[in-house]
Symmetry: C2
Subunit: 316 residues, 2 copies
């Protein structure tokens, strides 16, 4: 039985760890999901357990791990910025341990990169040799396909498009420490911050609609979205302001990469008016024919992409 | 006699057309320079003349042309945005005519891309498989090397980093028609505009130093540079404001590309404080070890790069 294209894909996030067996981009097993343990050692044990429980039945040849944080250029270890994972996570030797204990060749990739690769192989970016996948969630994650290959930069830390600088005057500090990163304004977190700032600027006696009797600092993304359904003027204004901030980054990336497509993924992507932004993108860029799409592989994009990358790397 | 690596390199700009014979990145002939004719037909004739006068003595096998404007993905023709060249330029069939009339295989490349390639092969980017070359001139031109290859996007129109959007509120319109492009603020033209705006904001009776008895709208880049030499407070402020605008784009590009280096070229690059920006870049980015360098190949970068690309494409 030839299982050259069968790999276990694993996605390690701050809240959960998922694993499944993937063959040619299809999940062919159940998807195992565990809450992410709060110490590094248990994360490694959880993963070993997941692999063990899938391996005998499906005979995978490889393991692909999608993880938060940056990964080195050889796809062999996590190298940094894993704020939402426990101390010591960066030191875990996933690859070494899995290869030695279980005999399965293992590749590690950043989760946004892995998700982008899945979208390129089986999602909205299929057939697009130049595409950018942007995850609009708590932060902004990006993965970039250049000439049919995942772009990783010199050290594997590339494609951090959430840290495009989008304002001249110092306006908002990003979690990375720098000023005015795209992520600080156009992510889900940014969306709520924008709305709070806008609401605070309105005098108390002029606060109507969803703002009435509300502490501006307690406005949530949910409030705005509910407000839009009722055509609440403030909600509509806050939403449009945010969408324009998303657009600013899309214009920059279109001009820099001249991609076939830009694909939006993550929790905030469903609020995007694709038709409107597509038109704006055509008007505001110096390149042509950059198509904007919603992602197709949302749920298991990370583990599917990591499995794909492992198969392509090791099966030669 | 084997001349597989000998090509004629030509650089077509809005003011002059230069041509020379290039072997392994070295200019081995005189450099012919003509004023750019004001009609397209004469541009083609000038080029044919230049090639004719170099070809018998040096026996080049190929021609590489660096040109303003975008070039198609096959490097066979100019496809757009050549504002400073005469009407009909886009329709010139350089490749076809040169190949048919003179029997020399011809490649065409955007001038910023060609210059970047020269910088990668023999300049400050030598050995850097991921590098970005930014020409700070009247506008901002960029060329990007990804994994040792010139990055061109899906259609050859990529790497337009001058059109990164760097401000949220509509502040200044770019020549491309969009708002707040990096080029509109950080190019030489942007430098002068920034200074004019800043000067206009100062009340007439408070204008001292280089601003005294001066119409703010007539301030030039030259005035500012002269002012800096005399520690003129306004000149220093205008200069620092501009350099910070340059930095904003560098931060974005470092985060997106995780390059080995960023190389600055063009007339405005000589005013950059490399040591200062290098430090800022380390502090303000999520990537590491991005080295900032001045370009080495300034004068003939375009024609040298185009010659290199022609040799690599055609000699296999």
């Amino acid at each position: 039985m030839k299982n050259d294209n069968v790999a276990i894909g694993i996605d390690i996030g701050g809240t959960k760890i998922s694993a499944a067996v993937v063959s040619n981009g299809q999940v062919i097993s159940e998807v195992l999901t565990y809450k992410t343990p709060d110490n590094s050692k248990d994360i490694l044990n959880t993963i070993l357990e997941e692999i063990e429980s899938l391996k005998d039945q499906y005979k995978p040849k490889y393991v692909g791990i999608a993880t938060a944080g940056t990964v080195d250029i050889d796809n062999s270890k996590v190298t940094g910025s894993t704020g939402n994972l426990p101390e010591g996570y960066n030191k875990l030797e996933f690859k070494k341990v899995i290869e030695e204990k279980l005999g399965l060749k293992t590749l590690i990739e950043n989760d946004a990169n892995a998700a982008a690769y899945a979208e390129f192989k089986i999602g909205s970016g299929r057939g697009h040799n130049n595409t950018i996948v942007i995850t609009l969630g708590t932060g902004i994650g990006t993965g970039i396909i250049v000439d049919g290959k995942l772009f990783r930069g010199k050290s594997g830390a590339g494609a951090e498009c959430g840290h495009l600088v989008i304002n001249i005057e110092k306006k908002r500090r990003c979690t990375c420490g720098a000023w005015n990163c795209w992520e600080a304004f156009a992510s889900g977190t940014g969306f709520a911050k924008n709305a709070k700032e806008m609401a605070n600027e309105i005098p108390i006696n002029e606060r109507t609609g969803i703002l009435k009797d509300k502490n501006p600092d307690e406005i949530t993304t949910y409030d705005i979205i509910e407000g839009i359904k009722k055509d609440d003027p403030f909600a509509v204004k806050a939403y449009e302001y945010w969408q324009n901030l998303v657009l600013i980054g899309l214009i920059s990336l279109a001009n820099v990469f001249d991609p076939d497509s830009i694909i939006l993924s993550g929790g905030m992507a469903k609020f995007i008016n694709y038709e409107k932004l597509q038109k704006e993108l055509e008007k505001e860029t110096v390149v042509s024919n950059v198509k904007l799409f919603p992602a197709k592989t949302e749920n298991y994009a990370g583990l599917i992409g990591a499995a794909f990358l492992a198969v392509e790397k090791f099966s030669g």
